[in-house]
């Protein structure tokens, strides 16, 4: 159905340090989980082939470093992302609070065509733990306030909901792709949606 077939979808996983981004990715891609924590250095990606609506696509999943000290490396890879996965730890309220920051930063750095409708997915990780500190209600409330982004409560350790979450991620990326196509039918579209921010830049480069 799509005129330009995109075989590679880029998915970015964001969230505070220690929420389980790497574990989720590993659980999804390699079906493995390790209890040992090893801070991700910089960023790295894994690829996984998935079937979405009878199409075989390659998901390039970018696992990022949540720690601030790795911010000395850039995030140019945000650009061109097809979906962004926000992860927080249901036992750590602070990781939930910083979701806004992650989302905003992502939108700024990735500068997608349509920030309002860019597909995010929210994952509350570590639901296998007892000491839960962020209620489902609160999380889903936040998710629905952000343009109804899908919310999943998952456990990378127990592989709970991980597969479903990433299926949704893939579907959302697909949706994003089709929307882009629609937009492309209108050559002027980009100009029209240019927001005020860009006009402010005085930079000629």
């Amino acid at each position: 159905m799509s005129s330009r077939k995109k075989v590679l979808w880029k998915v970015i996983i964001l969230g505070d340090s220690g929420v389980g981004k790497t574990s989720l990715m590993n659980q999804y891609v390699n079906k493995k989980f390790s209890n040992q924590y090893k801070a991700t250095i910089g960023a790295d990606f894994l690829t996984k082939e998935v079937m979405v609506d009878d199409r075989l696509v390659t998901m390039q999943i970018w696992d990022t470093a949540g720690q601030e000290r790795f911010q000395s490396l850039g995030v140019a890879f945000y650009r061109g992302a097809d979906c962004c996965v926000l992860v927080y730890d249901v036992t750590m309220p602070n990781t939930f609070k910083s979701l806004d920051s992650w989302r905003d930063e992502f939108l700024i750095q990735a500068s997608p065509r349509d920030p309002e409708n860019f597909p995010f997915v929210l994952l509350g990780n570590k639901v296998d733990l007892d000491n839960r500190a962020v209620s489902t209600k609160r999380a889903s409330g936040w998710a629905s306030s952000k343009n109804d982004i899908p919310y999943f409560e998952v456990s990378a350790k127990e592989a709970i909901n991980v597969e479903q979450a990433f299926q949704t991620i893939a579907k959302n990326a697909l949706a994003q792709e089709t929307e882009v196509e629609l937009y492309n039918e209108f050559p002027d579209q980009i100009k029209l949606t240019n927001d005020a921010k860009q006009k402010n830049d005085g930079c000629a480069c």
């Binding site: 969230g15 911010q71 850039g74 140019a76 602070n94 910083s98 930063e105 005085g202 480069c205």
Partner: protein, 940 residues
Amino acid sequence: MNFLKGSGPTEEEKAEHRVIKHTLSSQLSRTIKRLQQEHIGSDSAVRSGDHGNAICNVLEAIFLHGLKASFATKISGMFGSGKEEKGPVMSFWPFVMHFTHKDVVSQLNHLAHITTEIGQCRAWIRLALNDGLMESYAEAMLRDKELLRSHYRSIAYLRDEEHPTIMKNHLQGLEGFQFQLSYNSSVLNDWGVSSLTLAGLWSPLQAPEAVTPSSPDVAMEATEGDDPILPSQQAAREVKQVRSGRKGQRSSRKTVDILDPEGDTDSVGSSVTMETEASTEQILDGGNRTTSVESTAGEQKEDTSQVFLRKEKPSSYDFKSAVKDIAEGEMSSGSSQGIREIQEVSESPHFKDSVEDLKVMGHQTSQFPVDPTPGSNSVVTPSNSVATSSNTVATQNNSVATPSNSVATPSNLVVAPSNSVATPSGAVSPAGTERVDGLTVNRNTEENVHFSGDRQSSVETRVDQPSTSPSGFSLPLQTSDQPQGAQEKETRSETLTSQDMYYDIYSRSRTETEASITSPSSNDEGEDTVKVAADSSAVSSIIQPASQQQGQTSAESMESEEGVAGYGSYGNSLGVRSGWSSAGTKESILANPGRHRAPSSSRGSFDSLLKSYSPQGSLATTPGMQEILEAMAGPDSGQEAQLEAQEPDSSHLEESYELDREDFEVLPLGSSVTSGHADPRTKELMAQLTSIGREKGLDVQNFKCKDCERQIGLIFGKYQVCNYDGCYYCEECHVNEEAVIPARIILNWDFKKHKVAHSTKLFLLQVEEEPLINLEECNPDIYTYIKEMSEVKTLRLQLKYVKAYLFTCNQSVAEDLRKRVWPKDYMLDRIHLYSVVDLLQVTSGQLQQHLKKVVKHATKHVYKCQLCSQKGFLCEVCNSPNPIYPFETETTVRCDRCKAVFHAKCRADNRPCPKCARRDLRRSQFRTVEDTSPDFTFPV
């Protein structure tokens, strides 16, 4: 065997011995490490257990390696001679006797159960360990170059330039341990298989080792109860014979024969068939042995398929049977040569040794990528493919062999109908197999066996082994790992090709075999042999898994998987078969980074190289001035410092810390600066490093020479001023030596040499390569005044920025960068640190040139690397889609606070950083709206 050939080492031989030496060093370090791990917490003494014996074996091998022929009985019957010789009586007793106290010598001479010189050698080693004297012995020996020369060849381990030092350092790691090794035992009267193997004197012996890894216990059992185990009487006999290890287990010695019911059959021709039989017998079903056979080669083929199936249950595999197999394997090999020794079961001690070695090897193997599935089943698959391709008996053997290397052996035998080819032990151990292959190949070439060519080719397809074989090495343990992994992978993928190859081989083998083979169907045999060769590689791969199962926990197997993956992802050029030595090193380092950090590590150049390779090392931060000062001032003498650094092997953390430090202590400075000078003096000189010494007057020094306190001044004696510290020295302590004064460089850009006192001169020499000068602290203005310095600053800033990329990329990339700046690791991130030599190089332009090269290389990588290039920044001001990088210092600027990077033009007006503004805003919102806990950190 090489060592028997003659005195003048050829290039080939040298290379070979280099590998052996390397293996010895790493084996030593490994065994010591294991012992440390095992015993570190306990006060109990180390007894003659696995670890103790393993260390003894390695030490024996070290002392044996390169021993001059005059001190050993040459083995007259090389392959093909067909006559059995008494084992070579290699003994370093005459050598070590020189260093041993006469009381000890007489003690050893009068031990009731020690009846041979070999026994004395071995007892001596144990005694030396018990007395904690091994290190000092080594020290004394290495000092006596003359004696070394008279007893050892130039290629000997002990005469190597760096290995003995490594050994000494390893031995230091044993200091804290109390040994109670038994040394009065008749077991010691012959060399152990593993020692000879390690020393490169007897390759076939390795086979038994391999077996052992799977189960140490097995070996024991085998020795004791071989007979019962074997279903067939023949087998039992064979087993006994297998123990060939006894007397000089050199390759020449190949013991044994065996399948023959009659016992020893000298005829070579018959031996072939017998071998096949053995292999068939080996087919085991989950511990149940089915003696399939004494079938001829042709029959074997038929059997093979069945064997396969059975073998799939390696886990259930009976150790005993494994033992048998091994024994058989050896025997068969022996028979090929036509030499037989029936050995008694009693030789079990050797087995133990070999078992220990095997364990070690097993470890290594487990780490290999070869088969993701630890289970033997997975292993089987590769073998199956091979088998199918080859279709015949050979495969069977291999499959059967899987559990025990013995299978391989038969194949070998087949291959070399004339027997010389057959590697006796080869099949036995996984690691052993590799070696075996190598050996066989060598032999082939030497003997002009037709097969050799075929074999090699087959090997190549399958694997790593080939690589070793051409050079004629007996593979070092470490190296073997890599190749195996490669093999396995290849095996699967290349089944088809292998088939083709088989055909080729087959045709060739035919002609060859016809001549040599006595067996009924020459064609079949030829095929078999070929297959066998191919299989042997397969076997090795198979064996690995089996050993894993048996010896290793599932967790470990997981590790191995990871290891594999890691390998692939690293794409480490070094790892992938560049030369043996480098590959080996790399492997070992990767395998256990902790290991080479162990206390044993020497400060020698070799070790530092290793460190530079090590992943951990690559991320290690350079020590601060503080640390360096501590390191310098702390220990009184350099040696002590070393010891201190090395002793705390107990905790890994400590170790790594020490090592980080050691990176810097590699310099001679540590030792010389502190030794011969009291601490306060060194500190005083250090304090003076970045400030110009002013004369304070003779009275401050109480009219005494600063160094020797001799009266100086006025009527007492002439004196000189040292331009470094401004103090006065007598004419003996100040002989008008000249040196550049660091402080004058830093503050005045003055590179003239000034007269300094002798002690100061020494000090300056010692610290001239130390990065002790922090320009930001002592004269940051230098960057504005000195053009060269600002240039270097820029380069070092770029290097620091680009380093962040390379160090988060592939390990190999990070290591490469590290190597490029080695040993000046501080160049990477402490951009204001300089040594005196660095400053001198700045004036000459050398440093800039070097840095430019490194930066250019590194940035090139970032631009073309799929991962690194994605980690660029996007200028938030202009929102240009083209990524920019912090190391593009000419066109970009970086926000000091948030590290965001912008075009220099975009921030020309010094407007506030947009990212920082956002962060500030968010933070303030948080404070007002929500209660933020103190540990909250903003993600961006």
